[in-house]
Amino acid sequence: MKVDLVIFQHIAAALYLAAGVGAILGLMLPAPRMMRGARWGLGLGAVAQAIAFGTLHRVESAPSLTDLPQAIAIMAWLSVIFTLCLLVRFRLPGFVPPLAFVAFLSGFGATFVGPESVPDAGAGGSIPHAHVLLASAGLAALGVAGLAGLFFLIEHRSLKRRRVSARKLPLPSIETLDDVNRIALVLGFLLLTLGVLTGSLWIHSRSGLFWSGSLHEVWNVIAWMIYLGLVVARFGGRQGARQASASAVAGFAFLLFSVIVVGMFS
């Protein structure tokens, strides 16, 4: 089983790497066929990683996904799935290379770190898994919102400076980027909220309290409140597309900090 897990993780990483390289070449040449191949590579990588996660669940009955490298790998995997869903409706050529490389690095990195056991991890039944999956999915969607926001700012700046780059940026229109940002923000916030709630339930199943006051909880609740503010500002008509994009980038940077940096010390 352990061997299966590593093999599928390696296959997924190789497919992501191929997809990233293919997408960069496809955008630079430009070669639409190569871009299509890169999307297929990304999709197949996601399938291989899904099999790897399935194997992991069978190996570690409870809860095998609570360690940081695995959580980041799940987040990257869910970002890929979320982006593949968006690709059905939107043309997002510039999204493939960064996502593929992040998925490659996180997936490949996870193969070196075995899933660690957490004390009292068995408590709460499937709640820990639900918490990790929901929170990771929320992070993934908010990551895509941040990426769309970053691309929006790049394109907006190019249009505002009235300076055209030597080669046209392989980015979708700012209208599309704003749409993606909006959709990803709403979905990400909903999933993050569910992640926070299931996290609270998990703590309750272990200690009888809904709030333990750990560093991880404090920072994640702050991040959740920031996103609540962003959603209210965005849909309350108080933010334009540029501010919303900048907020999405800053919000995701904060979220990553609270998950990765704080997670490492808590």
Binding site: K160, R162, R163, S173, E175, G240
Partner: protein
């Protein structure tokens, strides 16, 4: 066989001269040209920017004379005063220079607007018309097929045609950078002059959705609206129209701006942050320039668009340098093919020559030796074998040489060494075949 080109283009002749040489249908005039013995094959390209005649010939000097005469008599209908003035406006290219020029023209490297897509279609038409009147043979057919392949490579392997260089195309590309789909967007055109009409034609080509035309004189707006299936409005309706609009195009007279920052700012509030693209073609400007500072408003004036077009043109020039490398490679391939083709008659002459010598020598000795039919057959085989073995290496080298200069030099050497162009030697061989008694005489 040489490829020769006589051309006149936007660099060598003004439009009033070029238009005198332009022909709508090249087939009939080409037919007259290929009847001349100096010309082998011919293709004539006639566009608004160039008139170029490509021929194959064995005799360069005579062909040049015929081509100049063709330009003066057939194309200019004898209107030209003298051939001297014609040479001022035209240029000759021959051999590899001519081949490269054809490749450059088809790839739009030589065009007034580098990378423009029309020229390839025009070259294809010229080639088709030449083939229809049987003016195109093996050499020019191959040359033009390679030219089309070169143009395709240049388009695919360089960014020469990627960036627009006309103001209208630049505006459309910018709009596509802002909006994903122009068909679902609505345009507000302020003014009803020629520029707005031209913009409406361009918008028609790119399928922009609703068009609203606003003008001081409403009747002028109504006339345009009727022509382009839009709606007509007065300038007093701008504030109510702006929130419904995605692209604004203005070109209207007047001293002050037609659209103020306040008007646009108010409109943006009603658009929930959706972007607004404004193109100001008016002089003096019709839109307050500070509108560009608003987050969701992107304002470009004519100078901005022209500056983008100039940047793109400079980029195309850089890409043209990459295209030159492709053209060089393709020209080398064509040269290789042409040398191989030119080697064919030399190889054929060489074989004929050695065979005639072999047969002449057998005839001289066969009767005297009194050979039986079997021995005669053996002698035939033996001599054929010797000749073939001796000629194998030189013939292979002639056939395999792909470098044009080296190949042509080798062909020339072979013809000299074996006396292939020497009629006297040929006659001597024939006379020996007729008078075998001359055997052994040393002159």
């Amino acid at each position: 066989m040489k490829v020769l080109l006589l051309g006149m283009n936007h660099r060598t002749a003004p439009v009033e001269v070029r238009e005198r040489f332009a022909v709508a249908e090249t087939g009939p005039v080409l037919q007259k040209l290929i009847d001349r013995p100096e010309i082998g094959e011919a293709v004539l390209l006639s566009t608004c920017n160039r008139v170029e005649l490509v021929v194959t010939t064995e005799n360069l000097d005579s062909a040049k004379h015929v081509m100049l005469e063709f330009f003066a008599r057939e194309l200019a209908d004898g209107e030209l005063q003298s051939k001297e003035s014609l040479s001022e406006w035209t240029f000759f290219k021959q051999g590899r220079e001519a081949v490269e020029h054809v490749f450059r023209v088809a790839s739009a490297i030589d065009s007034m607007v580098i990378g423009e897509p029309q020229i390839l279609g025009q070259v294809k038409d010229a080639y088709r018309e030449a083939t229809e009147v049987d003016a195109c043979g093996a050499v020019l057919s191959r040359l033009y097929q390679r030219a089309f392949a070169t143009a395709k490579r240049v388009k695919n392997e360089t960014g020469i045609a990627e960036r627009p260089v006309s103001v209208a195309r630049v505006a459309v590309n910018l709009a596509k950078q802002i909006f994903e789909d122009l068909e679902s967007k609505s345009a507000l055109l302020i003014g009803a002059g020629e520029m707005i009409e031209a913009a409406l034609v361009a918008l028609d080509d790119h399928g922009l959705g609703d068009r609203r035309i606003a003008n001081r004189t409403r009747s002028n707006a109504e006339a345009l609206a009727e022509k382009f299936s839009g709606t007509a409005h007065g300038l007093d309706e701008l504030e109510s129209l702006l929130p419904l609009t995605d692209v604004v195009l203005t070109c209207v007279g007047g001293d002050g701006p037609v659209l103020t920052r306040f008007q646009v700012e108010t409109a943006l509030v009603g658009r929930s942050g959706r972007p607004l693209f404004l193109i100001d073609m008016g002089v003096p400007r019709n839109v307050d320039p500070t509108v560009h500072e608003l987050d969701s408003a992107y304002l470009y004036n004519l100078d901005d668009l022209q500056s983008v077009a100039a940047t793109n043109e400079a980029e195309r020039r850089r890409e043209a340098e990459r295209a030159e490398r492709i053209i060089f490679e393709e020209r080398e391939h064509f040269d290789g093919w042409l040398v191989a083709l030119q080697a064919v008659p030399t190889i054929r002459d060489l074989r004929r020559r050695t065979e005639s010598i072999r047969q002449a020598e057998i005839e001289r000795y066969a009767g005297r030796l009194g050979l039986s039919p079997d021995q005669q057959e053996a002698l035939e085989k033996l001599t054929k074998g010797i000749v073939n073995k001796i000629m194998h290496a030189p013939i292979s080298r002639l056939r395999d040489e792909t470098d044009r200069e080296m190949g042509l030099a080798r062909l020339e050497e072979a013809r000299n060494l074996f006396g292939l162009d020497d009629e006297g030697d040929e006659r001597e061989v024939l006379s020996r075949r007729q008078n075998p008694s001359d055997e052994g005489k040393i002159s």
